[in-house]
């Protein structure tokens, strides 16, 4: 690629060389000059020039210009408020007009202290008010959704939120209504803003008009700390900051990683953190006592009990992993059980494949693709929400988005990207194989768990020995809530003589565990995760867990079996990094982790064509909905986002059966059947039906749908 043409722009008498076409706001930054803005936000698409905060003098133009809408051209001379009285007056005027109807309730506003309107008024605005009329008053706060409150009096109508809704998330739900001074931000008929990315509008809002109901009146900006970490609720691993006060997480905000998330978060990642404070959170170890149920016990007693159960199994141990453990935690558990107890059998939450390493690309590369093939029948947004935004961005830039690897567009593509989201992906081997055969530029597999790859690799690295699968199972070790909630794991538990479970919440394992050790959340651990790109990222402890974290007690337990294991993630990482991460030091994982490419990757190993579903019914795809799972279930603000009891059908299959969206239908398989509402989806392939797992009962394989 040729480097872009450089041009010279003079801003406040400072000449600066920038690429031609760079925005003037950015060019000024390059010259060390701030041009104030409200509506300008390049991630929302082309500038709109609405707020008029950026008015500057541009040589050759008689009027002040909203320079956020202009780009660098050679010889351009710009004067900002620093050197132009006219520009200073213009910016002052804009702020005066903005403040004419702004309530100035800053002392009780959540935004106060981190509010661009406050900051810009401080620097460029009028010090007094000349407006003596009653300010406009409107009903407030309006619940835009259970998670978002809208204060229309504070709103300065910069249209960032509505542009996000229309042009980024493309949900078209948050809009401006009316005209002129009567314009307001609204949803349709005041219905909740129900969309997977709604919470981003809170961060985009440059004033306190859109606020988080979770964070309202919770903290002042000068009494908080923002801890950098990554989200652990899906395989994307969006970079986040957890705002904490007095050791508690108060909110989660984005921390823009341009290659991963571009500063967006899904609502699960943003609002899900309150599961930390769930009422049924387990803080102390629990032991099953015959006829009395579960009983709390001290940590020392719990470790004694764990040791007893581990020894008693005599190596006949199976470990069920969640895929949400940190790399260090999985390694530690692996080392304890494999090196200490010669128990090598593990049940992984899902398959992984190193074959994908040959195709590693950042997620942002999707936006540059000319063809994106989305394969696999599970909606991308349900599994790896941010990937959906990247696909949308690609589409807006003109990419073809296709749903079949045989699509003609794929053959003619120059930069094709393949994305596999659904069953039968063989952990990514299938899409890696496809990429090899089609010459695609990149391939992504969207796993179900946030750190499945990291957990799998860490377990493998923990010991070199192998062993047979035990029968009967003496002890089942269930690591984490996702594993505990997995029906397959529950089935294993039935067969096991004893069960130890690590779990955050009462109820998940209460009926069948012999010993429950309190689990922690991704927000309470230090360590690393590997996301779906293969990017190793750093988690930080943002809140103090109610109990010691897993690594702490695993290392104490390891000591009892003569296994040397440090209780510190940095030390554990140092031990395993040489085996799986090329000796990368812990300190160099980085706040904005880079994607390390792999020079070698194994060839994809694929099983022969699996048995095609029998019968002539419709193939059922059960999927875990984004807004489901143990964490989401414990967040009141997310309940309205839970999936509806619906079955999705293709237009073709619906028409054949004379089914329309909203019809009550019966979905049946082998004598069992369920009643659900039908939803006709134009983008679904014929022959496939989809049901969120929590509404799919025992259905599987092929099903029939009828009115």
């Amino acid at each position: 690629m040729s480097s872009p043409e450089l041009v010279t722009v003079t801003i406040d008498d400072r000449p600066v060389q920038v690429p031609k076409g760079l925005g003037i706001v950015e060019a000024a930054l390059a010259a060390g000059i701030e041009i104030p803005v409200f509506c300008y936000e390049p991630r929302l698409g082309p500038p709109v020039g609405a707020c008029r905060m950026c008015l500057c003098e541009v040589q050759g133009m008689p009027k002040l210009q909203a320079v956020c809408t202009m780009t660098a051209q050679d010889g351009m001379v710009v004067r900002t408020a620093q050197t132009s009285e006219k520009a200073a007056d213009g910016q002052n005027a804009t702020l005066e007009f903005i403040l004419v109807n702004h309530p100035l309730d800053c002392p009780v506003c959540d935004k106060g202290g981190e509010c661009p309107l406050q900051d810009l008024t401080f620097r460029w605005g009028p010090g007094n008010t000349r407006m003596e009329f009653e300010k406009r008053t409107l009903e407030k706060p309006i619940p835009v959704s259970p998670a978002i409150a809208l204060d229309r009096e504070r709103c300065i109508l910069c249209y960032r939120c509505t542009r996000f809704s229309e042009a980024v998330a493309e949900d078209g739900q948050l809009v401006a209504q009316n005209r002129g001074a009567s314009s307001v931000i609204a949803t349709f008929d005041d219905q909740p803003y129900r969309a997977p990315f709604s919470g981003n509008v809170i961060e985009l809002c440059p004033v306190g008009a859109l606020t988080s109901t979770q964070y309202r009146f919770e903290a002042r900006p000068w009494e908080i700390q923002n801890v950098p970490s990554v989200c652990g609720l899906c395989p994307v691993g969006c970079n986040i900051s957890a705002t904490t006060r007095e050791g508690k997480v108060k909110r989660v905000v984005s921390r823009n990683h341009p290659e991963v998330d571009e500063g967006w978060l899904c609502d699960k990642g943003r609002f899900g953190f309150t599961h930390l404070n769930a009422r049924d959170r387990i803080a102390d170890p629990l032991r099953r006592v015959r006829r009395r149920g579960l009983e709390e016990l001290s940590w020392d007693d719990a470790l004694d009990e764990a040791e007893r159960l581990l020894r008693g199994a005599e190596g006949r141990i199976v470990t069920a992993l969640s895929g949400s453990e940190t790399v260090e935690q999985a390694y530690a558990l692996g080392k304890l059980l494999r090196a200490g107890l010669d128990a090598h059998t593990a049940v992984f939450p899902e398959q992984t494949s190193a074959a994908l390493d040959a195709h590693r690309l950042p997620l942002s590369s999707i936006a540059q693709a000319d063809v994106v093939a989305v394969l696999g029948d599970v909606p991308v947004v349900e599994r790896a929400p941010i990937v959906d935004l990247w696909i949308k961005q690609a589409k807006r830039s003109g990419a073809h988005v296709v749903s079949s690897p045989d699509d003609e567009a794929l053959a003619g593509a120059e930069r094709a990207v393949l994305i596999w989201c659904g069953p039968d992906g063989e952990g990514g081997a299938r899409v890696a194989d496809l990429a090899q055969r089609t010459g695609a530029a990149g391939a992504f597999y969207l796993p179900e768990t946030p750190n499945g790859r990291g957990v799998c690799d860490a377990w493998a690295a923990a010991d070199d020995a192998e062993g047979p699968d035990p029968e009967p199972i003496g002890l089942l070790v269930v690591s984490g809530d996702e594993a505990a909630a997995d029906p397959n794991v529950r089935a294993l538990a039935e067969r096991a003589e004893h069960v130890i479970v690590t779990s955050m919440f009462h109820g998940l394992a209460a009926g069948w565990a012999d010993l429950i050790l309190p689990g922690t959340s991704y927000l309470e651990r230090d360590g690393t995760y590997v996301n779906l790109e293969g990017r190793l990222q750093r988690l930080r402890r943002t809140a103090i867990p109610p109990a010691p974290d897993e690594l702490a007690w695993i290392s104490r337990l390891a000591e009892r079996f003569g296994v040397e294991l440090a209780p510190y993630p940095s030390a554990v990482f140092a031990e395993l990094s040489g085996r799986i991460y090329d000796g990368l030091p812990f300190g160099e994982v980085g706040e904005h982790a880079e994607l390390r490419t792999r020079s070698e990757a194994p060839a994809p190993v694929l099983p022969g064509e699996g048995p095609s579903p029998k019968g002539k019914g419709l193939r059922l795809v059960r999927y875990k909905a984004l807004f489901s799972g143990p964490a989401v279930e414990r967040v009141p603000e997310l309940q309205f986002q839970r999936p509806a009891a619906e079955v999705e059908l293709s237009a073709e299959d619906a028409e054949k059966r004379k089914i329309a969206s909203g019809d009550a239908v019966r979905v049946s398989h082998n004598g069992t059947s369920l009643e659900l509402r039908a939803r006709v989806k134009r983008d679904l392939r014929a022959g496939v039906v989809r049901i969120p797992a929590e509404h799919a009962g025992d259905l599987g394989g092929s099903v029939e749908v009828a009115k």
Partner: protein, 438 residues
């Protein structure tokens, strides 16, 4: 100088809404002539004719056409701005009602010049009768095979003054809230559906057949060198014979008011003329000996605008006039940019206070300053349109504003011609959003 028909030629004698009648006076004969020319030659001819846009800004139409990115692989669009909404203007309406085929003929010629096959005529929603006439004319001409490979679509607006602003019109035509876009990109590069787009007013396009017929030189013989051609002037307000008068550019304003429009009605005295539609600075009675053309009006601090004169006699309170005018612009502000949205409302509040006699002299100064702070800072010209008239009233009739303060109320004592005038912004039927009383 004086009366001269070009746009409306023949309309008094015949029913030119009928294709046959229009063809009987030579209608559509310019289309094959234009099509015989190359696109480049036709644009050169239009540029030579120096036809200045009749919509308000006066930008040369041929030059606009020359800016169209004809090399773009995208379709090119011609959009006719028939969203005539400027208070005082009602001439596009007459053109569409009486000579729709002349407008269509102009469309076909201009479309050929810019290599467009898609013409949209965006007509304001309120013009229902005119829409029906125009649509019938389009259907008739299409059926007669006159269009060739060009399609002409008449599209109805739905009641928003701002859609007369060309980029807001494009947004509206794309099915959005009609709000102006920042420029650049300019419509000739990225207009309708992000494709190269020429946008012209009805009267501009309806003048094009005459340019082909007369040639640039013949066309230049009409009007003044800087402003060739004729213009239909709308004149309304306190005159004996309000209406539309097609005149050569350069005709004196006095002639229009006193000769053609019959002078001030009811023996009253001329007080003010708002010469270009309600959005331009007003002239005093002493300023009407001015030729009606772009440059002459510009030279005395106002605008040719939409060539629509509102004549005001001595019975009108200028504070009331300012208030009623500003309420219109506040009502029509699209709400996108800050100074216009917030500033027009503040202006209304200040003017109401002055009219009520509750103001102090500092409020008059504040009004003046608020005007100056809106001026030149809004995204489109609407903010300026709200300010121009009010600033001119303050400048020329400032003593009336002061009198309101000193008198503790309107010095007209309830006898002003605009007394109590009700404005649509005073009725809250449109907003579904509850306004809570303060």
């Amino acid at each position: 100088m004086g009366l001269k028909t070009m746009l409306l030629a023949g309309a008094d004698e015949r029913d030119l809404t009928k294709l046959g009648e229009y063809q009987a006076i030579g209608g559509y004969e310019q289309v094959p002539k234009a099509r015989a020319m190359s696109s480049d030659d036709l644009i050169a001819l239009l540029q030579a004719a120096n036809l200045r846009g009749r919509g308000g800004a006066g930008f040369p139409m041929g030059r606009k056409a020359s800016l169209i990115d004809r090399k773009s692989p995208k379709p090119k669009y011609l959009v006719v701005n028939a969203d005539e909404s400027e208070p005082g203007a009602f001439k596009d309406r007459q053109v569409m009602a009486q000579v729709p085929h002349r407008l269509i003929e102009g469309c076909l010629i201009t479309a050929h010049a810019i290599e467009s096959q898609d013409v949209f005529i965006y007509i304001r929603g309120e013009y229902l009768t005119e829409y029906e006439v125009l649509q019938r004319a389009v259907d008739e001409a299409r059926a007669a095979g006159i269009f060739g490979d060009i399609e002409v679509t008449v599209y109805r607006g739905a009641g928003a003054y701002i859609c007369g602003e060309e980029t807001a019109l494009l947004d509206s035509l794309e099915g959005r809230r009609g709000q102006p876009r920042p420029r650049p990109p300019f419509p000739p590069i990225q207009g309708l559906y992000a494709a190269p787009t020429q946008i012209n007013n009805v009267c501009t396009i309806a003048t094009v057949p005459a340019i082909i017929e007369l040639g640039p030189d013949g066309f230049a013989n009409v009007g003044t060198p800087g402003s060739p051609g004729t213009v239909i002037f709308s004149i309304s307000g306190n005159v004996e014979k309000p209406g539309n008068y097609e005149l050569e550019l350069g005709t004196s304003m006095r002639e229009l008011i006193y000769t053609h429009a019959g002078g001030i009605a009811g023996g009253h005295q001329l007080k003010a003329v708002i010469p270009g539609g309600s959005s331009v600075p007003a002239l005093s009675a002493q300023q009407i000996d001015v030729p009606l053309d772009y440059d002459s009006l510009g030279a005395i601090g106002t605008f040719f605008g939409a060539a629509s004169l509102i004549v005001v006699d001595e019975r009108c309170c200028m504070v009331q006039l300012a208030l009623r005018s500003t309420k219109f612009y506040m009502h029509e502000s699209c709400g996108k940019c800050t100074p216009c949205r917030e500033g027009t409302r503040w202006m209304v509040q200040l003017l109401e206070k002055i009219e009520a006699g509750d103001a102090e002299l500092s409020d008059v100064d504040l009004l003046r300053n608020v005007c100056s702070r809106i001026l030149g800072k809004s995204l489109c010209a609407l903010g300026d349109f709200a300010v121009y008239p009010v600033s001119s009233y303050l400048e020329k009739w400032g003593e009336e504003f002061v009198a309101h303060v000193e008198h503790g109320g309107c010095p007209y004592g309830g006898e002003s011609s605009l007394e109590r005038i009700f404005a649509p912004s005073d009725q809250h039927t449109h907003s579904p959003v509850a306004q809570v009383p303060a």
